[in-house]
Subunit: 190 residues, 2 copies
């Protein structure tokens, strides 16, 4: 180890801002999930993992931050879509917790249920609502490992004030997972 150690930076992909419609208001849950799934699909096309996530303002339904899986590109096992979206949201709102006074209530919408790491990241993030597309069983069925996420993960989040919905637009989310696998995409940690 040397003094050359740099800060660790996680870049957003160039194409992300071509896909996002920054002016749009995402009124319905379906619209918000459709965006997370769209990001997952674009990420597959660009050689990334089949996962997308967005943080929305629960009052005005605008997009606060977005992330896609960048594990291979960033060279970091932390670079899951949810973790990046949460980091971007905290930086944007300038707070290490999205639960801070004066901030809008935040919702994380993710194309698949979180793995054990993202569950932990969500737990500390300060979001008020989590909305998931594909189930853990869908992700595991494709050979991905979600890790030892506690069985009572939804209750744990509820107790912390985070409402959880899952299986929203499940078929569309799962279709992207299949497309990734069929294209020979890397299955992390099988």
């Amino acid at each position: 180890m040397t003094r050359r150690h740099q800060p660790v930076c996680i870049e957003q992909p160039d194409w992300l801002f071509d896909v996002l419609d920054l002016q749009r208001v995402y009124i319905t849950q379906q619209q918000r999930m459709a965006l997370a799934i769209k990001l997952s699909a674009h990420n597959v096309k660009q050689g990334g993992g089949p996962f997308g996530a967005c943080v929305f303002d629960m009052q005005d339904h605008t997009l606060i931050a977005a992330g896609v899986n960048r594990v291979e590109q960033a060279g970091l096992s932390v670079a899951h879509a949810e973790m990046i979206a949460l980091m971007q949201a905290q930086r944007h709102l300038q707070s290490w917790t999205l639960d801070a006074e004066g901030l809008p209530d935040c919702e994380l919408v993710t194309s698949s249920e979180p793995c054990v790491q993202c569950f932990g990241g969500i737990y500390w993030s300060g979001i008020k609502q989590l909305v998931c597309g594909a189930y853990k069983s869908d992700v595991m069925g494709l050979g991905f490992d979600e890790g030892p996420r506690p069985d009572d993960w939804i209750d744990s989040l509820l107790k912390r004030g985070v409402a959880v919905k899952t299986g929203i637009m499940r078929d569309a989310a799962v279709e992207v997972l299949h497309r990734y696998k069929d294209a020979g995409g890397l299955i992390y940690n099988p």
Copy 2:
């Protein structure tokens, strides 16, 4: 959200490289844990959280990467000592998993047992051994929350090929936690 969204970067503190002895070989487990605890103590002095972590090469016992809690300074709930040390190690070894062929076996030494997020991060990191100082009960006793880490976390890591030791130099690690609390340090997520 605007195009202005920057990469998320997590800086190392300036003082870190004054504290680390980069030429040293850390032969014994006590020497390695002493460094993690030393980092936790320095971080408290500098206004950070009372946690330090290091990644070591298990063959030659050199230091690969280090991290201290930077939650407040980085403005990110992900910026726990363990997560930063693992990110730095993966960047240094240029691999999203420390378990890749050709890399040295890696050990993470952390001044306190991991929270639920760091447990998840460790699970995906590719390390081969985890060594912890203070117990979860010590951290919780001070009012910190470790989150819903699974009760069988050690077994989960073992099954993944990660050996776990805990309570190593516990008293010295706990002493830093107390010093932080006595100095009025912020207790995250109480």
